[in-house]
């Protein structure tokens, strides 16, 4: 479903990604872990071209996305993204946040977009918050609206960029619960996270990144139970 070949990213002289190779199959949940500054977020952002790869190839369903001929807006419509800091549109209600893209990008009628939006709000447990503006919602609620907003485009893949890192601890659970439901329904997901419990429980595969490289990958049991790479061992010893 997603194939990344020899992906490099440089910001001027800073070499952030140094040759990433990775495949993600349909319905797979891949968790990316690693210390700060290891390039996890940059890797994720390359997959919907929020960052332009310096070198290498990225394919989504066999379409090369970093090709000048590819219409990137069409690709992004199929790839949902959830941000660390939610990035809800503050001048729009929860409902309007969700219906905007289907209406403007997919030309879905207003009634249909709203009907879908209400269903999504129900799915993330916020039925009663449809007409509320983001600043009246808690962080966890905002992030759940953000997930609903991404789902409204009926994406084939969901990318999560540290979705719980900006949340107060007591709100982490409600967001992870929504993500677990998604995984159970068969959504293809790539999750950059510091939530090792989530990675262990929900991930089909865990990727450990450091200094712009994938150093080890495997099932959660293998990564957390029997790590080989020294840096992975030291990383796990610090956080577990």
């Amino acid at each position: 479903m997603i194939e990344v070949k020899n992906l490099h990213k440089r910001f001027n002289k800073l070499h952030v990604l140094k040759g990433i190779d990775c495949r993600v199959s349909a319905q797979e949940v891949v968790c990316v872990i690693g210390p700060s500054g290891s390039g996890k977020s940059t890797f994720l952002r390359c997959i919907n071209l929020l960052e332009e790869p310096t070198e290498g190839e990225i394919y989504i369903e066999n379409v090369k996305i970093n090709d000048p001929k590819t219409n990137i807006n069409n690709i992004r419509a199929e790839v949902g993204m959830v941000f660390q800091r939610f990035n809800l549109f503050p001048h729009k209600t929860a409902l309007e946040n969700i219906t905007l893209a289907p209406a403007k990008v997919r030309n879905v009628s207003k009634q249909e977009a709203e009907r879908d939006a209400h269903k999504l709000l129900q799915k993330v447990g916020l039925t009663d918050k449809a007409n509320v503006y983001p600043d009246q919602l808690s962080g966890g609620q905002q992030q759940r609206v953000a997930i609903a907003r991404a789902l409204a485009m009926k994406p084939k893949v969901m990318l999560f960029d540290e979705p719980t890192s900006a949340l107060d601890p007591e709100m982490v659970g409600e967001v992870l619960a929504v993500m677990k439901d998604l995984a159970r329904e068969g959504m293809t997901m790539i999750v950059v996270t510091h939530e090792m419990g989530f990675a262990r429980e929900v991930g089909d595969r865990v990727i450990f990144m450091d200094e712009g490289c994938i150093l080890e990958e495997g099932t959660p049991e293998k990564i957390f139970g029997d790590p080989h790479n020294d840096r992975l061992k030291s990383f796990l010893s610090k956080i577990l």
Partner: protein, 242 residues
């Protein structure tokens, strides 16, 4: 009338007051038109300036730098006298050397048009910078979120960035309105009878320079204070509606 020197002064001011109000209404008319057209021009220039195309952005910067970096008085004079001169010389060149028929017989624009044109072109440059700062003050994550949903850059600007930016530019736009209201006094040099010119004409007729000009100043003050209260009110309204 009786009342000595103070009575004389009061009479002049009272008698001329309707004339001052005509001038003030011209001042307001020019200011409103300049800032309204300036907003359209400024939004357009700001988007050009923010363009990724270096050439387009550079041309917008040139425009903005020229109109912000030269005195409005000089700009008014160029449009009032420089442009007719250019048209005349240009046309006579075309007629003489290329045998083109003479199309223009009168080179000067109507004075009202000169006034609106000069103030609009100037205001557009300042408003462009206000809009640019407004757009750039919106968190980058907003654009990223919009683009990640598949919206084009133009759609993201229209539905996400600009509506948020507009709220933030209300106070600086109010300042621009006040500045422009005062700067329209420069139009008196080309003979437009706005508030300042109406004062000058009254001084010429009555020789009561101090009371007349003080009255003029006071009328400007009333207008600028009223606008600044209005802007404060709008700002509060927009904040609660966020």
């Amino acid at each position: 009338m009786s009342g000595g020197i103070w009575g004389d002064i009061l009479d002049v001011v009272i008698e001329s007051f309707p004339f001052f109000l005509t001038g003030a209404s011209m001042t307001i008319k020019i200011t409103v038109l300049a800032v309204t057209f300036g907003c359209i021009l400024g939004l357009f220039l700001a988007l050009l300036r923010l363009s990724k195309n270096r050439l387009i952005s550079f041309l917008a910067v040139c425009y903005i730098d020229f109109f912000r970096g030269t005195p409005l008085l000089v700009q008014i004079l160029i449009i009032a006298f420089g442009i007719p001169n250019l048209l005349e010389v240009g046309q006579s060149y075309l007629v003489k050397n290329l045998g083109m028929p003479q199309i223009l017989h009168n080179y000067a624009l109507p004075i009202f048009v000169i006034a609106v044109l000069a103030t609009t072109l100037n205001s557009g440059a300042y408003i462009a910078e206000i809009f640019r700062a407004g757009v750039q003050s919106i968190d980058r994550g907003q654009m990223e979120a919009a683009r990640s949903l598949g919206l084009t850059h133009a759609q993201a600007m229209r539905y996400i960035i600009l509506p948020q930016a507009f709220k933030r530019v209300v106070p600086p736009l109010g300042n621009e309105f006040i500045a422009m209201l005062k700067d329209t006094s420069l139009l008196s040099v080309i003979g437009l009878v706005e508030l300042t010119r109406s004062g000058q004409l009254t001084v010429g007729a009555t020789y009561k320079a101090f009371p007349v000009l003080l009255t003029i100043a006071f009328i400007y003050l009333v207008m600028t204070l009223a606008i600044s209260r209005l802007v404060d009110y709008l700002e509060r309204r927009l904040k609660t509606g966020d």
